[in-house]
């Protein structure tokens, strides 16, 4: 990190005396990040910039809270000034502890959301004093960890009084929000509510009545042992909030410990540079409720550097991929704070939305770039892991690599010439594309490659069926042409479709999830539709995943002719008919443009109350235009 600044304010460096330095990434650091990489040294550069950013946000918070005065004080918690004074006092004794508390991911979410609240940009349900009062919780946490005696009132939410990273006291809930008094006297910690007191004592890591210590996991790896907070208590751990703790059972905690140990071991072998960077770069993981198999949930936030929210994984490898994914987001978020990737939209401009091969919904360019960067890391991980994976995991790893390299590649191609890209943003996409292009040349066994490509085609087709619409003029012309018995549909049907986001679109990844089941348990529960092992999967989807196309086609056509055409049926029918030369035109149309068949079919049915034969209609629509035209425009 270059920091060429003067020191009129106590700021380090040697810049001109009339201004402090600004953070700049080193050339090596920027190069590594643009390539999707970054070691511990790069994370150090980003961390220092994030630290300054956090201090600036705190300054803005203090200014705003002071300006508002009584609105933020005089309630059941200490005033902002009292809390800040305790932090200042604690920093004189133990600057490292204060640094750790203020740089925790939850503190980042809190200060940003509190500032928005103070500026009337946030509609949180929590009272303002409880939001601003979290500064007192942070001050109490720091003083407790540093052994600085104090007594301070903090917010209690439904009886929970968290000291983020230390533990959480549980008092009888006296309503949604109340105040609680925390005191440390000679190392003895006590938390008091209305008529109740939790005596923690001097050993904060020991459970006691009303006291839940924070869980910290040491991720052992040869040569290093980074520590990760398993954050059950922090009110801002989920990047929203404030929310009440989600307390893990002992068995859940053990499961997390085991999964993290496995993941860390895998990362140490398959992603050693990333693992080395995660040591200083990953601070906490907030466990979320378990999800469906092969559908893990995870998230991170640019305002919470070093924090991850994740559901309990199916396997260590899956968690390793999740950590890589979220760490990519974390790196790119911090990079973007220093080097914007996009020019901002002009205020009156309409935001363009794009197809993201990993999402159900159309995404803005900002989100798509984040996804590209994250899944680039995921593809890189599976590429390395598939060479070491054993047993049934080998086929799964090959499938994941084949899937993600092609999804990332298609997204890169879609946005690489966007005018909003800055020089840095354009360079990032160039470098990622060059690496991804090399991966595309690497051999993956035919079976996993074919399954991955079917899942890719299925997602893309389902997305089009949900979110794209030909113009109403093209549709009505097509209906008239079909009714007249024209040989081919009107040319207007080949024009770019409109994007009409369907907020009900969900589980567009069903084919990929079914593929994972097939590769790891060919005859497992997932094969029985009635068991509902895969949400969003219908009988035909399962038949397709089993490779039984003819049966899938019969099922779909039976449903269609009975009038049971749900969104997604058209694209599934296209895949089911693939391989039948007599159905080539219909299949191609339904895989590449299912939205055309759906729109004309629905318009015809609305006008006449009759249902045209789906395959005949698709074949007719496909006869005119077999181009894989991906063009569409946003309908305002």
């Amino acid at each position: 990190m270059r920091s060429d600044a003067g020191n009129p304010t106590g700021v380090r460096g040697g810049a001109p005396p009339d201004r402090p330095a600004v953070h700049r990434l080193s050339a090596d650091g920027l190069r590594a990040l643009l390539g999707g990489d970054g070691d511990a040294g790069v994370i150090g550069e980003l961390s220092r910039a994030e630290r300054s950013r956090r201090m600036l946000l705190l300054r803005a918070f203090l200014d705003r809270a002071e300006a508002l005065g009584p609105a933020t004080s005089g309630h059941p918690t200490a005033s902002v000034t009292e809390a800040w004074d305790l932090l200042v006092r604690t920093q004189r004794v133990s600057p490292e502890v204060v640094e750790a508390v203020l740089m925790a991911p939850g503190a980042g979410t809190w200060v940003s959301s509190a500032l928005r609240r103070l500026r009337d940009r946030d509609e949180s349900l929590a009272p303002l004093w409880a939001v601003t009062g979290h500064l007192a919780s942070l001050a109490a946490t720091a003083a407790t960890r540093a052994g600085v005696d104090f007594s301070l009132s903090v917010p209690a939410h439904r009886g929970f009084v968290p000291l983020p990273g230390v533990g959480c006291a549980v008092l009888p809930a006296g309503g949604d929000w109340a105040g609680a008094r925390i005191s440390l006297d000679g190392g003895d910690l006590r938390i008091a509510g209305e008529g109740n007191e939790v005596r923690v004592g001097t050993d904060f890591a020991r459970p006691s009545p009303g006291w839940l210590p924070a869980r910290r996991l040491v991720l052992t790896r040869s040569g290093s042992a980074p520590e990760l907070l398993l954050d059950e208590h922090g009110p801002y751990r989920t990047f929203a909030g404030p929310s009440v703790p989600r307390i893990l059972s002992d068995s859940e905690a053990l499961a997390w410990e085991s999964a993290l140990a496995d993941a860390w071991s895998i990362l140490g072998q398959d992603e050693p540079t990333t693992a080395g960077a995660m040591g200083p770069g990953l601070a906490s993981l907030a466990p979320a409720a378990p999800r469906e198999r092969f559908r893990p949930y995870s998230s991170s936030a640019g305002e919470a550097f070093g924090g991850v929210n994740a559901s309990l994984p199916d396997s260590g490898a899956q968690l390793a991929a999740t950590l890589v994914h979220e760490f990519q987001h974390i790196k790119l978020g911090a990079l973007t704070h220093l080097e914007p990737l996009l020019h901002p939209l002009k205020p009156a401009s309409e935001e363009e939305l794009f197809y993201a091969p990993w999402r159900d919904d159309p995404r803005p360019l900002e989100g798509l770039l984040q996804g590209i960067y994250a899944f680039f890391g995921v593809a890189r991980f599976w590429r390395a892991h598939m060479r070491r994976a054993e047993g049934g995991q080998t086929a799964l790893a090959r499938f994941e690599f084949a899937l993600w390299r092609e999804k990332v590649w298609s997204a890169l191609r879609a946005v690489q010439h966007q005018e909003r890209l800055t020089l840095v943003g354009g360079r990032l996409l160039e470098i990622l594309a060059a690496k991804c292009a090399q991966w595309l040349d690497e051999e993956v066994s035919d079976c996993e490659l074919r399954i991955a490509r079917q899942a890719i085609a299925d997602h893309r087709a389902r997305w089009r069926e949900h979110h794209l619409r030909p113009s109403s003029k093209a549709v009505s012309e097509a209906v008239r042409a079909w009714r007249r018995g024209d040989d081919s549909p009107p040319a207007a049907m080949s024009e770019a479709a409109d994007l009409v986001p369907d907020r009900h679109a969900a589980y567009l990844d069903t084919a990929a999830v079914l593929a994972r089941h097939r590769l790891t348990a060919p005859e497992g529960d997932w094969t029985a539709p009635a068991r509902g092992a895969v949400r969003g999967a219908w009988e035909a989807d399962i038949l397709l995943a089993r490779g039984e196309r003819a049966s899938a086609a019969r099922t779909l056509l039976h449903d269609a002719r009975a009038g049971n055409l749900r969104t997604g049926t058209w694209s599934s029918l296209g895949l089911a008919l693939a391989g039948d030369p007599a159905m080539a035109s219909a299949s191609r149309l339904l895989i590449h443009h299912p939205e055309r068949a759906r729109s004309v079919y629905e318009a015809w049915r609305e006008e006449d109350g009759e249902r045209p034969d789906p395959v005949s209609l698709a074949g007719w629509l496909g006869g005119a235009d077999s181009r894989d035209d991906d063009g569409w425009v946003l309908r305002g």
Partner: protein
């Protein structure tokens, strides 16, 4: 897509080593400019979340 104003570039003033007790009284142009940019960022919906979650799986 019409191109808007060029981005401001790196704009985080380096506060390494600044103790908390001095934070409230820092009064330099770069600090003010950094603050203004950050507050603008806070209002940008894309800055709020940069997650890896898929909405249909968030439950």
């Amino acid at each position: 897509m019409e191109r808007a104003e060029p981005p401001a570039g790196a704009g985080i003033v380096d506060l390494s080593g600044v103790p908390l007790e001095r934070l409230r009284t820092l009064d330099y142009p770069d600090v003010s400019e950094s603050l203004e940019r950050l507050l603008g960022d806070l209002d940008d919906p894309h800055s709020v979340r940069a997650g890896g979650s898929n909405p249909s799986h968030a439950e």
